[in-house]
Symmetry: C2
Subunit: 233 residues, 2 copies
DNA sequence: ATCAGAAACTGACTTTTATCAGTTTTTGCT
DNA sequence: AGCAAAAACTGATAAAAGTCAGTTTCTGAT
């Protein structure tokens, strides 16, 4: 066992009903467990960087990361988030390309690194695993296509309302109806694809219209139906 | 042999060094060849429709299709094009989802339909095929991520210049330096994600600046370096 | 070759969004 | 608890892009 004592074993992920790894044989699971390296990442730390070569993929045990591309003038475009049970970086391994996005931690995370040749082996030897990975990628591509259409066609107002709802879906609300992910206004702008000030103004409007309540960076959702209406669902 | 005489056999595609099918065993190739149905589609015909269930996937032998999503007020957002040797529709099969886009023919096409269970069999029994498909999907997702970032951050002007260059790359220029794909202004607008009039105005500017020449719907590229500069490559 | 309809074009105007510059509040570290 | 820096906010203005309405040109069918 290469791990330090309080790092997760793969069994703990399986116990979480891990969507991709649960079809591994006990032997395959042992191989992965033996080969992997777990690390704790603090908020702000970068796991891998766009344009760099990565030699393995990452399985998020806990915490939240943002996956973003850097565009003009260094501005980020957040493509998606990763949370527990998500795997990231596998696409670069499989398509032998440099990392397409940067992965940065926004909530302290425990992440396991698994070497790339393990992934090749698993895909080749375990068709169920390969199919699960394929399905995951296909789902992501479907989401990306939706994202493209929304950015191209919806107003910034519609998009912000929609993003709030998508964040609620992905990360859920706590018992006080507060979004369980805390983002700066700049980060929200980098998801919507707009200027920070535009997000600030619209959040303020949503607040006035009693759709949300703002508590520092925390956002409490007051009126889901109202947001849905604005978002043109 | 179920095909009418002048339809392509899979061997003809393999002769084209088909990126995904070339790793099939002769037996697998025979099965696909036996099960498939080839059809000729005229410009404007729809192969499959967003939101509908499809039971097989399609292999393009010749011609060009646009894959688009329909957004607000029925406006199209073109996500990508498919040409010879491209396969489409496979993602819905693998992820058991409804079609994410509509596939419409923009240049008369010959397209083979292959039943979905063939795809499942091939993915399960031929790891090399599965890996190729995986790589294809990963590449598409990488492109989609670029697309998202561009739409979010670049001006319409930059994007149009970039789209012209991408079209040149994908479809090449003929011996007169003319783009070998013919799109309406509306279609160009539906790729860029802007209003038709905006595309018209910018094309006019590009023409005045001697970057392109317009011959009806045909676009002759005059100055690649100039377009690259505008596109912020 | 003719012609109808669609597409392309153009100008004027409106709306949306971004930028800029300054002020206020919050966060996170010590 | 204190404080510096970053983030959030705000108002004014500029720029980018969209819409509307009319005219001209092109495409494709007969």
């Amino acid at each position: 066992m290469k791990n330090i004592q309080n790092f997760p074993s793969c069994e703990e992920c399986i116990a979480k009903d891990h969507p991709v790894f649960k079809d591994l044989t006990p032997e395959q699971l042992d191989n992965v467990n033996y080969d992997k390296a777990c690390n704790i990442y603090k908020r702000g730390m970068v796991v891998f960087q766009e344009g760099h070569r990565i030699n393995g993929f990452y399985c998020v045990f806990s915490g939240i990361l943002k996956l973003y591309k850097t565009g003009i003038d260094g501005k980020e475009q957040i493509i998606r988030f990763a949370k527990d049970t998500d795997i990231i970086g596998y696409r670069s391994i499989l398509s032998s390309e440099l990392a397409c996005t940067t992965a940065k931690v926004i909530e302290d995370a425990t992440i396991c690194y698994i070497p790339g040749d393990q992934l090749h082996t698993l895909v080749t030897e375990n068709p169920a695993f390969a199919m699960k990975l394929m399905q995951l990628t296909c789902k992501e591509l479907g989401e990306a296509n939706n994202y493209i259409t929304d950015i191209a066609q919806k107003t910034v107002r519609e998009r912000l309302a929609e993003i709030l709802l998508l964040l609620k879906e992905r990360f859920d609300l706590d018992e006080n109806q507060v979004l369980q992910i805390s983002l700066t206004r700049e980060e929200l702008a980098n998801i919507v694809g707009t200027a920070t000030e535009s997000v600030i103004r619209l959040l303020s409007e949503f607040k006035q219209d009693r759709l949300i309540e703002l508590q520092g960076r925390k956002i409490k959702i007051l009126n889901i139906a109202g947001l849905k209406k604005i978002a043109s669902f």
